[in-house]
């Protein structure tokens, strides 16, 4: 239960960190709060030669408004969001997710960028931010690129991050005044990774929605305009129009072959929709 030996670097600034990662990428792992990587190191499931600690980089611990979106640095913690130390343009949606991640002692060190980079399909931000339509800036010493959260994760623990590249910032769009939000997860034990996640952003005035069925052990299902879930159109009665059979068919198509698991996912999604409508 002790990690294999590794070398440790705490670079002075982001440029130095990216340059170091660019040179040693293959054998290096980036650590921020270490709440996902730490357990793997201790269990020796991961044994990198070098750990590059980015948790001290001031550039990654900022939060600011850019027009209609909030831009969070990758090293902002779940507790920072839970406590309102960063401002919120989602009318509580971000706080609601953050406050129910793992345990307080974990939230005090675990970071939003680290959780995304770890790419666990059952983690909260993966599904929650996809439903919000958030984007990520990825940065390497070669430059930056922007990806949508739903395009970031490609499978269990696999993201589009390239060697030497890190998540730099998370861009969260403001929630429009007419948009409803619902987020529900199913855990058998408080604080554990979810077995099912339903995340919905529904704007009945605009007739639009984003629906995410997450924690399916693969990249989440992100439905960007799921009219079929609501009998063909989205209006103020969307809660009553939710069609569980359509949701079940979507899960079948995504390869969730176990009927009991599909039932849990559909039930959790229904609850999220009810929460949004409440």
């Amino acid at each position: 239960m002790k990690p294999a030996p590794f070398a440790y670097e705490r670079p002075r600034d982001l440029t130095a960190a990216l340059s170091l990662l660019g040179e040693t990428a293959a054998s290096a792992k980036v650590i921020a709060g270490g709440q996902s990587l730490g357990p793997m190191l201790n269990l020796r499931l991961a044994a990198p030669e070098l750990i590059v600690d980015i948790s001290a980089l001031a550039e990654l611990k900022q939060a600011e408004h850019h027009g209609d979106e909030l831009v969070l640095g990758a090293c902002v913690t779940h507790a920072d969001i839970e406590d309102g130390r960063v401002s919120d343009l989602t009318r509580g949606a971000m706080q609601g997710i953050a406050a129910n991640i793992a345990y307080r002692a974990v939230r005090n060190r675990g970071t939003i960028g680290g959780s995304l980079s770890h790419a666990d399909p059952a983690a909260d931000w993966v599904s929650g931010l996809a439903a919000m339509g958030a984007r990520l800036t990825l940065r390497s010493r070669g430059g930056t690129r922007i990806v949508n959260v739903e395009d970031f994760i490609v499978g269990a623990l696999e993201s589009v991050l390239r060697l030497g590249e890190i998540v730099e910032t998370i861009h969260i769009p403001a929630r429009s005044p007419s948009a409803h939000w619902g987020y529900v997860k199913s855990c058998r034990r408080t604080g554990e990774f979810a077995h099912a996640i339903g995340a919905v952003l529904i704007d009945p005035n605009a007739g639009k929605a984003r629906v995410v069925i997450g924690a399916i052990e693969a990249a989440p299902i992100v439905l960007k305009d799921p009219l079929e879930l609501f009998g063909g159109h989205i209006a103020s009665d969307y809660k009553d129009r939710f069609d569980a059979r359509v949701a079940d068919a979507i899960l079948v198509k995504a390869g969730v072959s176990n009927a009991a698991q599909r039932h849990i996912h559909v039930s959790v999604l229904r609850r999220a929709i009810r929460e949004a409508a409440a």
């Binding site: 239960m1 002790k2 030996p5 590794f6 070398a7 440790y8 670097e9 705490r10 670079p11 002075r12 730490g38 357990p39 201790n42 269990l43 020796r44 499931l45 991961a46 044994a47 990198p48 030669e49 070098l50 750990i51 600690d53 948790s55 001031a58 990654l60 611990k61 900022q62 090293c75 902002v76 507790a79 406590d83 130390r85 129910n100 991640i101 793992a102 345990y103 307080r104 002692a105 974990v106 005090n108 060190r109 970071t111 960028g113 680290g114 959780s115 770890h118 790419a119 666990d120 399909p121 983690a123 909260d124 993966v126 269990a156 623990l157 604080g191 554990e192 990774f193 399916i216 052990e217």
Partner: protein, 404 residues
């Protein structure tokens, strides 16, 4: 080793530590502050919870070197703390400890709840303490004790502090130290080849077994079943089509030895072992059953792949697979079957593509980055591989919520 300087219980301390030394081991082994307990050592049980920069953190998955310049408070540093004193009295009154092992971490988490919770709501207290496990299961007394202290303090007009006193962004403990670096760690894990040989030697027989997990997959190739079936009999070809797989020694019809390198996220494993192959030519079906171990994670797996070929309209072949496996050891502790399935799906897609290319007479890609890098599953596909192979494996993960 590097010199780590931080403040522990209001005292400036400096000690040499390896980068891999956790904050818990640092305070226990370097400073003799053994009140901090270690239970699971991977962030689940909460026994090691201490205050870092004034708020709770897991000292088992926080490395001391990352806390350069931070302020750490262990249970020993809370002797004079007002809230902790009240909690101790309440724990005594409510019989809130039995063996006492979880108590230091429990008190640190309880203190944080007393600070932050607006009122003594039992559900909120239980949720707040869910990250601290008590094996004596004395939760009723603990929850009562914490609730009584919250109630008394609110009754005395002491307001909650929602943020527990934290007012800067980022992981607690970070940001106090300047740039730092250590010498490259000298010897890391032993070379994989060496490890693998020991493992293979120990595989003498492949016992019958009932898999703990079974799932189905299928793929299609544009070649007739007869050719595909013949190819699946050529172990070397099958191995070449499976990412991460290599054969050892000379395969015999009934036994193949080899290894599969699996990577999923930060996890890398090399399962080495043997497989037995059975074929039913009349039914165009077969079974590969194998056993293997990964020395580094001290994990073992047994698995089987059953395959059946069917002719498709148009002359192609549908290959149906039933994959069953049992995983034991460290990997099993952190793994979930669904992650294996996802990896298996990606691996099978790659295998199917390679098989198709081979049947069409095209060269196989020499190294495919994805493959080499991907597959936890490879293991499993490993199975496939040896005749397709050998067996499978799995993958990953660990703890709770979203972590990061």
């Amino acid at each position: 080793m590097s010199m780590v300087a931080l403040t522990v219980n209001e005292r400036a301390v400096e000690a040499l530590a390896e980068p891999r030394t956790s904050l818990a081991d640092f305070v226990r082994d370097k400073l003799d502050l053994t009140g901090t307990h270690l239970g699971c050592e991977h962030g689940i049980c909460g026994a090691c919870t201490v205050l870092v920069d004034g708020v709770p953190a897991r000292s088992c998955i926080t490395y001391a070197v990352a806390c350069e310049g931070a302020e750490v408070t262990t249970i020993e540093g809370l002797d004079e703390d007002e809230i902790t004193a009240e909690l101790r009295a309440a724990f005594t009154r409510e019989h809130a400890l039995q063996c006492g092992y979880c108590t230091p971490g429990m008190l640190v988490s309880a203190r944080d709840l007393v600070l932050r919770l607006p009122q003594a709501d039992e559900k909120q207290i239980r949720i707040g303490l869910s990250g601290n496990l008590c094996r004596c299961t004395g939760y009723v007394g603990i929850v009562r004790a914490v609730g009584s202290v919250i109630e008394q303090r609110r009754g005395r007009g002491i307001s909650p502090e929602r943020d527990g006193g934290r007012n800067v962004l980022g992981p607690v403990g970070s940001g106090h130290g300047s740039q730092a670096g250590t010498e490259p760690a000298a010897q890391l894990q032993p070379p994989i080849a060496q490890v693998a040989h020991e493992a293979a030697d120990s595989v003498t027989s492949i016992p019958a077994f009932t898999p703990a997990n079974v799932f189905e997959q299928h793929f299609e190739v544009a070649h007739p079943p007869g050719r595909v079936f013949a190819m699946l009999d050529d172990i070397a070809v099958v191995a070449a089509c499976l990412p991460g797989v290599s054969l050892l020694g000379s395969p015999r019809p009934d036994r193949v030895e080899g290894e599969i390198r699996v990577r999923i996220g930060p996890i890398a494993a090399v399962f080495r072992g043997a497989a037995r192959i059975e074929r039913e030519a009349a039914e165009m079906s077969g079974r590969i059953v194998g056993i293997g171990t990964d020395q580094r994670s001290r994990s073992s797996t047994q698995g089987e792949i059953r395959y059946r070929l069917e002719r498709l309209d148009g002359g192609g072949t549908r290959v149906s697979l039933s994959i069953g496996y049992t995983l034991k050891g460290m990997l099993a502790q952190v793994g979930r079957t669904g992650l294996v399935r996802d990896l298996a799906g990606r691996l099978i897609a790659e295998f199917a593509g390679n098989l198709d290319r081979h049947l069409s007479g095209e060269a196989l890609p020499v190294t495919h980055a994805t493959t080499a890098d991907l597959n936890g599953l490879s293991l499993f596909f490993g199975l496939l591989r040896t005749r397709m192979g050998r067996w499978l494996a799995r993958a990953s993960r660990h703890d709770r919520g979203a972590a990061g």
